[in-house]
């Protein structure tokens, strides 16, 4: 178990934010930082995933591990994430169907795109394993599977030239933005909620910046100097989101996705805002960590076990939604569901680490 660090800390915060935001309508939603900016926790999560790839594919002394080992490591992680997605989706569908039966309420079956599965299981089962049928709020892991799947290409190119990896990534991003390339949803119409062809930019940015920050004093110097710019961007983001000012997608010039604040295609405004957040908050961890005490340890423990915490968090969000609907909601219910959810997330992280410390449990 590693000591708390900035990456795990922020990833822990992103996980909690995603958990709370995935209970739409709850009281605490308006207190998450996602409500005060153009980008949100998803950007942070994907960027930090890229950053972690940078750390994971290098030895402690910073020398790159053998190529094949990196490729196999990423492949193994892809399989792990895929397995997590299939498991959480199956459990989510079971929870929705169970709640619909228990409450005698078919409306629940339409929840978050689940209707397709219950109405047309033959096609949807295929879409389910192909990740082309996604439930609402269960669409980040499919993105992550694809990103990890294509990560070896960028990692290997990055070994030769970081600039080449960035240029390739940016070119794919720009083309997808202009031509609206996305992976299709199936069955049903439409596309993926998170377009991997666009979102890969953040993963590659995270990966190359980790590498760069390790070796380049230039990057460190300039990120300090640009801190005021970061603050300006963050304040602008707060003003725009509080006043709900955003471009009208039917009035912007073509290609429209370049000018809107589109989440699916990760519009440039979101990238710029996220980079601004990064600049503004680069030194905050060092200031906060010693002062927050157990909160630092808590967030870092979530971040260290992000896949397990994210998966359980998705299911807890769904459970919280069902409880809110069943009970009618209200502040007391919100305090209960969010509070017990945070406790369960903490327990999940602890449990995963406890299990890995005791590798040979005797089977019951």
């Amino acid at each position: 178990m590693r000591e708390p660090n900035a990456v795990d800390f922020w990833r822990g915060l992103a996980l909690i934010t995603i958990f709370v935001n995935h209970i739409p309508g709850n009281t605490f939603e308006r207190y998450t930082y996602s409500q005060y900016g153009i980008s949100d926790a998803a950007e942070l999560f994907v960027f930090l995933a890229g950053w972690s790839i940078g750390i994971a594919t290098r030895n402690r002394d910073g020398s790159p591990e053998p190529r094949l080992k990196s490729v196999l490591r990423l492949l193994s992680r892809t399989i792990e994430v895929y397995r997590a997605q299939i498991t959480t989706m199956a459990l989510a569908l079971g929870m929705i169907a169970g709640a619909a039966l228990f409450l005698d309420n078919p409306l629940l079956l339409e929840w978050h795109n689940a209707g397709g599965f219950f109405a047309d299981p033959i096609q949807t089962m295929v879409g389910f394993v192909l990740l082309t049928h996604q439930l609402g709020f269960f669409n980040i892991l499919p993105l992550y599977v694809v990103l990890l799947g294509i990560a070896p290409i960028f990692v290997l190119i990055g070994r030769v030239s970081r600039v080449a990896a960035l240029v390739l990534s940016f070119a794919l991003y720009a083309a997808s933005l202009v031509f609206e390339w996305n992976l299709p949803s199936w069955p049903g119409e439409g596309d993926w909620f998170f377009d991997p062809l666009c979102w890969q930019l953040l993963l590659v940015l995270g990966f190359t910046m980790q590498d760069w920050s390790r070796t380049s004093p230039w990057l460190k110097r300039w990120s300090r100097r640009l801190l005021p710019l970061g603050l300006v961007i963050v304040v602008t983001g707060i003003v725009l989101s509080v006043l709900e000012l955003r471009p009208d997608p039917l009035l912007v010039p073509d290609p429209r996705l370049v000018f809107t604040f589109d989440k699916t295609y990760l519009s440039p405004a979101r990238v710029v805002h996220f980079l601004g957040v990064l600049l503004a908050f680069q030194a905050v961890y060092a200031v906060l960590a010693p002062r927050l005490g157990w909160v630092t340890n808590f967030l870092a423990s979530l971040g260290r076990n992000s896949l397990a915490v994210f998966s359980i968090g998705s299911l807890l969000s769904l459970a919280a939604q069902l409880v809110r609907f069943w009970t009618g909601g209200g502040v007391v219910v919100d305090v209960f569901v969010v509070g017990s959810g945070l406790f369960a997330l903490g327990f999940t992280a602890w449990f995963v680490e406890w299990r890995s410390r005791k590798p040979r449990l005797s089977s019951p």
Binding site: P24, N105, P106, W111, H112, A119, G188, G190, L250, F325
Partner: protein, 329 residues
């Protein structure tokens, strides 16, 4: 997707329907149809009779008295037998200018269907496909292209935001929005829901795109839920305030629930069969509301253009023009 080229007859048909309207406007027939007619079976329009190739679009809903003894309301026989609901329970109508323009210009009508359940039953009969088929059957010789998108759980202004992206992507003439399911499940504050819906509908209309709202489903366990029925009423209010047609899925399914009650009581699964029926009928119900809304008169060019279109066909059990408040079974 069923794609057919629009034929030149379209303009003629439209002109026909418009002239028909002009002819009928004195009677204000649509304001009272269909239940208000005492002798509904013999109700026939002379103009329709006079023009043999009249398409379905111009036939006003002929009505028969439902067989149920307790319920002497007239059902709209233009619908399939299992989907028959009195028009007053089914829709409120308003003008659909953008679709009319598309018909006049003889180009395909692009429809964007948005909602929680964009899927139907079985691969060959999904809701978008059924909707497209039903619309093309109703608007003869018109090519209708239906695109459907599911919302992934967004609520209130978040749903509006998502909808804007979808509209910008598809650039439709008409948006059919099944609204409110996710909001109901998230127990969104009703005022916040209403104002977000108002804002989004205004935005769509502001871009010269038509909107038809579809209220959330009816199910027995929710009929006693005050919050839920208030939300259904909110959708009605917004539709009326913004002057857009509304398909009263809640009312229609409640009607079907009563007429389909075979004395099973509240056995597990009854509501699920009703839900299936509701989904199956939705394409027809939506089509009916659109077809009749297309017969709404154009606003007179002198001064009334900015006024929201009248919401016609008030439910017969409501006072004045107020929509039926959803109630328990």
């Amino acid at each position: 997707m069923v794609r057919r080229m629009a034929l030149p007859q379209t303009a003629a048909l439209l002109a026909l329907s418009l002239s028909l309207l002009w002819y009928r406007s004195g009677e204000s027939a649509y304001a009272q149809e269909p239940a208000a007619h005492q002798d509904p079976v013999v109700k026939q329009d002379p103009v329709v009779k006079a023009v043999p190739p009249a398409p379905t679009v111009v036939s006003p809903p002929s009505v028969v008295v439902a067989g149920q003894g307790a319920d002497v309301e007239a059902v709209d026989v233009a619908l399939s037998p299992e989907c028959r609901v009195p028009g007053s329970k089914l829709y409120t109508l308003a003008r659909l200018g953008a679709v009319k323009d598309a018909l006049k210009e003889n180009r395909p009508v692009r429809v964007l269907a948005i909602g929680a359940s964009t899927m139907g039953l079985g691969a060959s009969a999904t809701y978008p496909v059924k909707l497209e088929t039903a619309l093309e059957r109703s608007l003869t010789n018109v090519d209708v292209v239906v695109e459907s998108r599911g919302l992934q759980g967004e609520i209130a202004s978040g749903a509006g935001e998502r909808l804007r992206s979808m509209v910008a992507e598809v650039e439709p003439d008409l948006v059919i929005w099944q609204v409110g399911s996710h909001d109901a499940l998230a127990r969104v504050d009703l005022e916040a829901f209403g104002s977000a819906l108002d804002e989004t509908v205004q935005w769509i209309k502001g871009h010269a795109i038509d909107v038809v709202l579809v209220s959330p489903v009816y199910t027995a366990s929710l009929a006693k839920d005050d919050y839920y029925t208030s939300l259904v009423r909110k959708v009605q209010e917004v539709a009326q305030r913004e002057g857009v047609p509304l398909v009263q899925r809640y009312e229609a399914m409640r009607y079907l629930a009563r007429s389909n009650d075979k004395g099973e009581g509240h056995l597990l699964g009854t509501q699920f069969r009703l839900n299936e029926l509701g989904l199956r009928c939705m394409a027809e119900h939506v089509t009916r509301a659109i077809t009749l809304s297309l017969l709404q008169p154009d606003p007179v060019s002198t001064g009334t253009a900015g006024r929201p279109a009248l919401t016609l066909a008030p439910p017969n059990d409501a006072v004045g023009a107020k929509p039926t408040p959803p109630a328990g079974p």
